[in-house]
Amino acid sequence: MARVLGISAHYHDAAAALVVDGEVVAAIQEERLSRIKNDPGLPLTAAFACLQHAGLQPADLDAVAFYEEPFAKLERVLVHLLRHLPRTWRAFPRALAGQLGSKIWVLDHLSEGLGVPRDRVVCFDHHRSHAASALLVSPYEHAAVLVVDGVGEAHATTIWDGRGGDLRLLASVDFPHSLGLLYAGLTAYLGFAVNEGEYKVMGLAAWGQPRLREPFAKIVRLTGDGAYELDLACFAHMSDADLGFGPALERLLGPRRPPGRPWDFTRDDDRHYADVAATLQAVLEDILLGLARKARALTGADHLCLAGGVALNALANARIQAEAGFARVFVQPAAGDAGGALGAALLAARDRGDPRPGPLRSAALGLPIDASRAHAIARELGLPARRVDDPAAHAARLVAAGKIVAHARGRFEWGPRALGQRSLLACPRDPATRERMNRLIKEREPFRPFAPAVLAEKTGDFFAAEPDDMTPFMTTTARVHEAARERLGAVTHRDGTARLQTVAAERAPELHAVLTELAALGHDPVVLNTSLNGAGEPIVAGAEDALAFWLRHGVDALLVDDLLIERTP
């Protein structure tokens, strides 16, 4: 029986995950504690927080597992810098500084930073860590595992056969051909920040039509074996990590969209950019569908696990679930690079003879929130804070009255989605709520949708879906019933879908209680659920973050466990 800490770092979304005796005890992204969005730094704060939560010291660890192989990555970086010479002259000094300055020493830095003997620090292949993060916490004994991201050491897409705790690599597509980098390049072309704006592109897709198939057929080509090939002239990720796309892309699709310009769909050019997003989404889905079918053919499995940053594309996941021929599909909530920490920890635990953990029931793997501390600080701030006996009933009453409630209860979530532990909750009926949420708090583009959370047993009343292995983690979408669209006006996207979360008591008890109370009040057991954070900030973690959010944003009420603060008009 082993105690293993998994670590991902040095690209984006650094994280730590603790596995004790084969069970996932804690998993935390560094950004939640450092308060730096997508913090890529060595996640020592998150690592110590995981250990403290479990009552362990670094000396108690049997292994620290890093999610990729530093020297294999160095080899890929050097090979590509040299292959694309002289185009890489600008990237060369920075890439070399990054590799030689910190990345290749990461195992030593972990040993020093945590105070763990160097021989206890191990590493695993990037895509293998991703694959393990999905398979080993999935409910499946035998599954195909499809990993799709930007790039690991060399692979950009991999197909695995997962049986029990074993993973066998079957096929791969290697960098620089990469769906993650295709999406990143087009994200930059559309004027959004790479590694952050991909969700915006997905939301934008519903506002356009996939009418640009012809130019896209030149940008990315299906190879006939289920894989794909990029026209590398359209991209710059081989030579310049900052830019993402090349002039050939602009020759095909027109000039890039200026970043920061407000969106206006009465403009011809903004409608064109929406068409670019819609076509990208359609093409991506086609390719992923081909890869998923290939994975099914290679493994003969009835179940599919998806991992890697591209697996956070909820629209594509829904289409794979519907059309790829698998009975069930699972996406681990932190499917991006953060999830690699969990996968590496599980692989190291398995290597030390630990059993495979049970299926992941809840994403609430972070730290709890301290209501007493929040109360003490709130008093000093002169806020009207009071402890309440039934916080869920209060939250439900406020939501029913059309208020926006900041809901910080229990342990915070693992992954980019707020699943009720650190959420902003509101009535899903009125589209005006969406406008208010956007204007007062999120400062988001108007085309981005908000998501609904629904009582699991009532899912079919509102959506053309039932709870499955993805809906508890908000990694898929479903069509909203025509009859329910008016009642769910604030959470139904332009294309009639919603990225729903089904809420069961054992997975998100606090949110389940709120939905149950709403039903008891005679309302639909559905809430608008969006992440508890301001624009450009990580989701709230502790009591101080929740209070800082309250000071900065005009929400109507804040619940920190049983502490309620209401804004007086």
Partner: protein, 235 residues
């Protein structure tokens, strides 16, 4: 840096620093980043201090810094749009220096106090200069923020003396002054080292050019799905 020198340099360099919308936008963006970085440090301090009263003070201060960052960033974005060649500034992404953990609470407070006082002197010089140039909007921006900077300077001094006592507080202020000097020295060293590194790596790049041919021959790009055959992981 001495009290007079900060103001003197700000007055001296203002014509250069604020010349035209492009430079002004970049300078204001830098201020926005600094304010956001300060906000991060104060939020972390609020989470670390054992005192709820000081946590509340840090949170209020952090809220002001967030507002300042937003004000600077908005004005910077507007000026960037007014430049002869309009440009877009990247989203604000400041880093935290984790000063509370690095210095401890006394020195942290001393550091924040010294920083606020320096900003106040600098901003006062800018307000005078902008008024002289009839740039009322920029003068108003700095004047608004100045009010907060004065308050921050006062409360951090009071908190520091309350927490550490008179003698220790003065020692902390001196220690922070020395620490800042050392930090400036390191920054200057890093600036020089980065340029030397750049030249050396570019020289290395040129020398490595023959390897490029070899890499293209031996390690060509292979598109499509590559079957792994019998390669089984783990071994």
């Amino acid at each position: 840096m001495s009290r007079d020198l900060t103001g003197f340099l700000a007055r001296l360099l203002s014509p250069l620093a604020w010349r035209g919308p492009t430079r002004s936008a970049r300078k204001l963006y830098a201020f926005a980043l600094a304010e956001q970085g300060s906000m991060l440090d104060l939020r972390l301090a609020a989470a670390r201090t054992p005192s709820p009263a000081r946590a509340a003070a840090y949170l209020r201060h952090a809220d002001d810094e967030a507002r300042h960052a937003q004000m600077f960033a908005r004005r910077a974005a507007r000026l960037a749009g007014e430049a002869a060649r309009p440009f877009v500034l990247p989203p604000l992404r400041a880093d935290s220096e984790r000063l509370f953990e690095l210095l401890g609470e006394r020195e942290f407070l001393a550091f924040v106090h010294v920083g606020e006082e320096r900003a106040r002197r600098q901003f006062e010089a800018y307000v005078t200069w902008f008024k002289g140039q009839a740039r009322d909007q920029d003068a108003a921006l700095f004047e608004t923020i100045l009010g907060d900077e004065r308050r921050h300077g006062r409360y951090t001094r009071e908190l520091l003396f309350e927490l550490a006592g008179d003698l220790e507080a003065r020692r902390a202020l001196r220690r922070v002054g020395r620490w800042e000097l050392g930090r400036r020295w390191l920054r200057a060293g890093r600036f020089v080292a980065e340029r030397v590194y750049l030249v050396l790596t570019l020289a290395l790049y040129v020398l490595a050019a023959p390897l490029a041919l070899l890499v293209r021959l031996v390690r060509p790009i292979r598109p499509g799905l590559r079957a792994e055959g019998s390669r089984i992981l783990p071994e």
